[in-house]
């Protein structure tokens, strides 16, 4: 067992976990934050993407112990409240960016990370760039078109730089 301490969605979180606990298992099963999904178990689908110290990472491909001391943001941490969604969440809602919704938390966490990186670098987030950036996120419903549209819309309403 290893004692871990981290900040999740702005709140201190601490637990004794077995050493082989994945970050996603800690988030879902210990903290009961079930917005972060496990889709593939082979590190390919991106449904488990969270932000660790401000960078998108696959929480199924990382030990909880390796996130010791980190600032973690899950999809539950994006919106200020249920009535005040993050611009990227609103964009997915308004552009029909989801069908079954299983991949959506990972899509939104990947999207907010990519927009932040492009805005900070002063680079234009083109449609091609969005499609390239989504290589690590799989959606089996939408065919991606509305996800790309949602990210374009959400990006236009996000100011991170």
């Amino acid at each position: 067992m290893t004692k871990i301490t981290m900040t999740v969605n702005g709140k201190a979180a601490s637990a004794d976990v077995s050493d082989n606990t994945l970050l996603v298992e800690y988030i879902r099963e210990h903290l009961r934050l079930t917005g972060t999904h496990v889709g593939c178990d082979t590190s390919q689908c991106g449904a488990c993407v969270v932000h660790v110290n401000g960078q998108a990472m696959k929480s199924c491909t990382m030990l909880a112990a390796a996130a010791e001391g980190a600032e973690v943001t899950t999809v539950e941490g994006l919106a200020a409240s249920k009535d005040d969604l993050h611009p990227m969440q609103l964009a997915f809602k308004e552009n029909h960016g989801l069908q079954c919704g299983f991949c959506t938390p990972g899509m939104i966490m990947t999207a907010t990370d990519m927009v932040k990186r492009y805005q900070e670098a002063g680079k234009e987030l083109t449609e091609d760039a969005i499609r390239h950036e989504l290589e690590g996120n799989i959606c089996r419903c939408t065919g991606y078109h509305n996800i790309v549209k949602s990210i374009q819309d959400g990006a236009s309403k996000m100011t991170t730089a």
Partner: protein, 277 residues
């Protein structure tokens, strides 16, 4: 995943002593290959030694070239990359992009964004996956791998598919190489995994030495290609690379493509690599 014991190493020497203390221990850097392998129960290290937070293993340094002899137009700086430096950090280092854009471009196309935020150059070369990108770059650039006990040339380091010259209890600290006069990387990725079906790295040193390495295609991992090296030594041009007759012997056949297909791709990727250099 089988049970394991997690250790956080305080520095490289500590990591090496923890690694040497247990015969079935493994170094954990970004874990982007090791953790999925453990989840599949294809690896069961008794101990994991996390080196991801060690400051001395992270970062890129570029030392200006010494002004000896004829001043060359480009290249000659000594580039050192810490073993725990992530693909994202390599891809986005502006000074490195100026000195050796082939390696920043290579790093920018490994896996996907989340993998690049966590995966490291040391992890990539220690694993020596036969389709990984970095082994091709280090072999073609004539890099040196610095470990906790010695320096190893890339020619000696990559000893075959998933195997390296690393001994038990030996930890990679950094890699270094001289910035080339020109270098380029052509990669044909497998669409699902983003690994190289075939990747060809071409490099010309400031002294005019040409080295060409191929990843993804060999049935025993990354290798240098003598035919492409001699063609590009006499004429550094895309047409020269494309004119080389690449044989299929020793190449991999699998569900993605047979050896003859890969042989053809080597010529095409070599041509594109020179075009991009």
């Amino acid at each position: 995943m089988y049970t394991t014991k997690y250790h956080k190493a305080s520095d490289a020497a500590n990591a090496a002593s923890l690694l040497g203390a247990s015969p079935e221990a493994k170094i954990l850097a970004g874990g982007q290959t090791l953790i999925p392998t453990m989840k599949q129960r294809l690896a069961a290290p008794t101990d994991l030694i996390d080196i991801s937070g060690i400051a001395e293993l992270r970062g890129v340094t570029i030392e200006a070239r010494k002004k000896l002899g004829v001043l060359k137009a480009k290249g000659g700086e000594t580039i050192t990359i810490g073993a725990a430096t992530t693909h994202y950090e390599v891809a986005n280092n502006a000074d490195l992009a100026a000195a050796c854009p082939a390696i920043t471009g290579l790093a920018a196309n490994i896996g996907d964004p989340a993998v690049r935020h966590r995966g490291t150059i040391g992890g990539s070369i220690a694993n020596n996956d036969p389709a990984a990108d970095y082994p091709a770059a280090l072999l073609a650039l004539g890099a040196t791998i610095h470990t906790t006990s010695r320096d190893i040339s890339a020619d000696d380091f990559f000893t075959g598919m998933f195997s390296t010259a690393l001994n038990d209890g030996e930890v990679i600290k950094s890699v270094s190489f001289q910035a080339p006069a020109a270098a380029g990387y052509g990669k044909f990725p497998v669409p699902a995994s983003r690994y190289a079906m075939v990747g060809v790295f071409v490099a010309k040193s400031i002294d005019g030495d040409v080295r060409v390495s191929v990843t993804g295609a060999g049935d025993d991992g990354v290798f240098r290609h003598a035919g492409l090296e001699s063609a590009l030594t006499s004429d550094w041009s895309p047409a020269s690379a494309a004119g080389v007759n690449v044989g299929a012997e020793g190449l991999l056949s699998d569900i993605h493509g047979n050896a003859a297909y890969r042989a053809n791709l080597i010529g095409v990727m070599a041509k594109r690599a020179v075009e991009s250099a």
